[in-house]
């Protein structure tokens, strides 16, 4: 599942339409949460600020049972930080490679899935007039200021690994200039940059979602016992009255053999056939059969030095 997080509804609107999302009405949810029919995309709107981000991301990810294979994508407007005005343009999208704030250690999402956007540091501030006391945007890395990402990533990392956390920001203004005007930005301008940004983001999000699904399917296909052979494996273990530990040993052996070229299904069927032929009756016979026949290494050979 791709879980998108925005602070404000206007930042989410275009994605809600694009993915055909419907709001989930649940009184237990302290957050506006949307989902599509297939359950492949969800979106939450947390409200502004780090506290909202932490609470709402935690609640939504718990509700959605987020875990392995899911992606968390934060998107929203940000101001180009002082010093990055010459590097970033209004309307430009950046992807977070570092996220810092005055609270706690910086967070580093893993940029495993390639991006067509500039990498940048996102500095999460308390508000548009907040003073930043730490260094940012060093070594030519552009920096933008937002109000949620550090909190959102910290909360999401309780559920997902750093490779599954992605932060996109679209530059809505130059932060210093906005500060000098009292911290307010024009809502119409912001809506326009957000709308254009989504047009550029959908393709990348779809590609990353596809890549993540492929990787998950690779991991799944490396499962020890393929679906079709699970019943036969269960029967084999049952007939041999294997302990949990022995089942694991056998599973690992079948997995190793599969990785070395003997398909798991074929291997289990062969063992089951062998078991039916030998039909060990007593506990001792079963143990001997397990040791000498089931665990016999099909790859053992003679001694070519002699």
């Amino acid at each position: 599942m791709i879980i998108i997080h925005t602070a404000l509804y206007f930042e989410a609107e275009k994605a809600i339409k694009h993915y055909g999302l419907r709001e989930i009405k649940d009184v237990a949810l302290p957050v506006r949460l949307f989902k599509n029919g297939e359950g492949s995309v969800a979106l939450l709107v947390s409200g502004t600020g780090m506290t909202n981000a932490i609470i709402c991301v935690s609640s939504a990810l718990t509700y959605l049972r987020a875990g392995r294979g899911d992606l968390f994508i934060n998107f929203g407007i940000a101001g180009a930080a002082h010093g990055s005005e010459g590097i970033l343009k209004t309307g430009e999208i950046v992807r977070a490679i570092k996220c810092s704030s005055r609270n706690g250690r910086p967070f580093y999402p893993d940029v495993i899935y390639k991006s067509s956007f500039k990498l940048a540091e996102v500095v999460t501030v308390l508000g548009p007039l907040d003073e930043i006391s730490h260094k940012y945007g060093e070594n030519g890395l552009p920096a933008v200021l937002d109000m949620e990402l550090h909190g959102a990533f910290t909360a999401a990392n309780m559920f997902l690994g750093p490779e599954a956390l992605i932060g996109y920001k679209v530059v809505s203004d130059m932060a210093e200039e906005t500060r000098s005007k009292g911290g307010l930005i024009d809502r119409n301008d912001a809506e326009t940059v957000v709308s254009l940004a989504w047009d550029g983001l959908f393709e990348e999000i779809d590609r990353i979602g596809k890549e993540a699904a492929e990787r998950l399917s690779e991991e799944e296909s490396a499962k020890t016992i393929p679906d079709g052979a699970e019943e036969a494996f269960g029967e084999l273990c049952e007939r041999l009255r294997l302990t949990f530990a022995d089942r694991e040993i056998l599973k690992n052996r079948i997995r190793r053999d599969a990785l070395l070229g003997i398909p798991a299904g074929e291997n289990v069927e062969r063992l089951l056939k062998l078991l039916k032929e030998h039909a060990p009756k007593t506990r001792e016979e079963r143990e001997l059969f397990f040791k000498n026949e089931v665990m016999k290494d099909p790859f053992e050979g003679g001694d070519p030095v002699d």
């Binding site: 580093y108 893993d110 490396a222 690992n252 790859f299 030095v305």
Partner: protein
């Protein structure tokens, strides 16, 4: 291809960091406070990070030198230590213990090598290393530093260190799977304190279980070249992977190649032993390397180490020792087998 370098603020500006950064043009440089903030993050996906490696350059604020593991052989030295100044390597070997040991799959290189060398000097003094109390310092267990010599230049640093003054009984071992000969020319064999160990396996094992490593032919050719240049050279048939129908044939073929190159009698030592790994690491390795047949073989746990069942371990050791002596022509006294002595 490394596209992101994370560098501690403290090491930026040091010649080591600047040199490494300049050697990866186009990579984004992200300034970090401490390497631990990245290396020990929660819920990292080791396998994915390994496929899309990033580089972290930091400062080691702890110890560089540690006791050599009881699972490795010192090749006869009385004092066995290992030194870790770079973690993870560019290779991808299915049987690598790093998959069970490291929380992160990213490369980590320490820039404060002068602290490392001071610590090594102190250890040599403390251990009273001499011709009668020899010490082996393995410097490339956690990273194939030789393969990354073009990027980090660590081998040259160690060569300069051992040649800077006489330290009787002290040997630095650089172990590698890289077949590049040109890096040998960066080092100086005159002190006799630098030993190169090429980690070799059968051609089939290399093809099946290793990625981004040199071919067997290239490794043996590099080893032979180093011998010709006057270096002490060792081979590590370690770990012996007894998987697949033809593993014995494979090791026989490997010994024949060693013999054909006339290396048997010229080698300083040959280290061998069946695959083994701390049992705790094996559990993590199975999670981090779900497609590694080596990880899912059947092992016995003895004294906290998972390895082939004792009987098989003995058979492997006997077979390899026999092949090395009978075919490769290595004197038995120079074969150090994990099963035999474990030292």
């Amino acid at each position: 291809m490394i596209d992101v370098i994370y560098a501690e603020r403290e090491v930026l500006g040091l010649p080591f960091a600047e040199k490494v950064i300049s050697r990866i043009p186009g990579a984004a440089v992200v300034t970090i406070d401490r390497w631990e903030d990245l290396f020990y993050r929660k819920k990292q996906n080791y396998a994915l990070q390994k496929k899309e490696r990033k580089l972290i350059i930091g400062r080691n604020r702890g110890s560089f030198v540690m006791e050599g593991s009881g699972n490795c052989q010192s090749g006869g030295a009385e004092v066995f230590k290992y030194c870790s100044f770079a973690k993870n390597c560019i290779g991808g070997c299915d049987y690598c213990y790093l998959q069970g040991m490291m929380r992160s799959g990213n490369l980590l290189a320490f820039a404060n090598m002068e602290d490392c060398f001071s610590e090594v000097e102190a250890v040599i003094e403390k251990e009273q290393v001499s011709e009668d109390k020899r010490m082996l310092l393995a410097v490339s267990y956690d990273n194939d530093v030789y393969a990354l010599e073009g990027l980090f230049g660590y081998v040259k640093m160690w060569s300069d260190f051992v040649n800077s003054k006489k330290r009787p009984g002290f040997t630095v071992e650089v172990r590698t799977k890289c077949g590049t000969k040109s890096f040998i020319d960066r080092a100086d064999p005159s002190s006799g304190s630098l030993v190169f160990t090429w980690s070799v396996s059968t051609g089939e094992n290399i093809r099946r279980f290793e990625r981004v490593t040199s071919t067997l032919e290239a490794r043996l050719a590099a080893a032979s070249y180093a011998l010709d240049r006057g270096f002490r050279v060792r081979l590590a048939l370690d770990p012996v992977i007894a998987a697949g129908r033809d593993w014995k044939e494979g090791y026989r073929d490997l010994c024949e190649r060693i013999s054909l190159l006339g290396m048997g009698e010229r080698l300083d030592a040959v280290l061998t032993g069946g695959f083994r790994i701390p049992a705790d690491y094996l559990k993590i390795m199975r999670r981090n390397a779900p497609c590694s047949p080596v990880a899912f073989d059947t092992y016995e746990v003895r004294n906290g180490t998972a390895g082939y069942p004792a009987e098989k371990e003995r058979a492997i050791s006997e077979y390899i020792t026999k092949a090395l002596t009978k075919i490769a022509g290595v004197p038995e006294a120079r074969i150090f087998s994990y099963d035999k002595d474990g030292t």
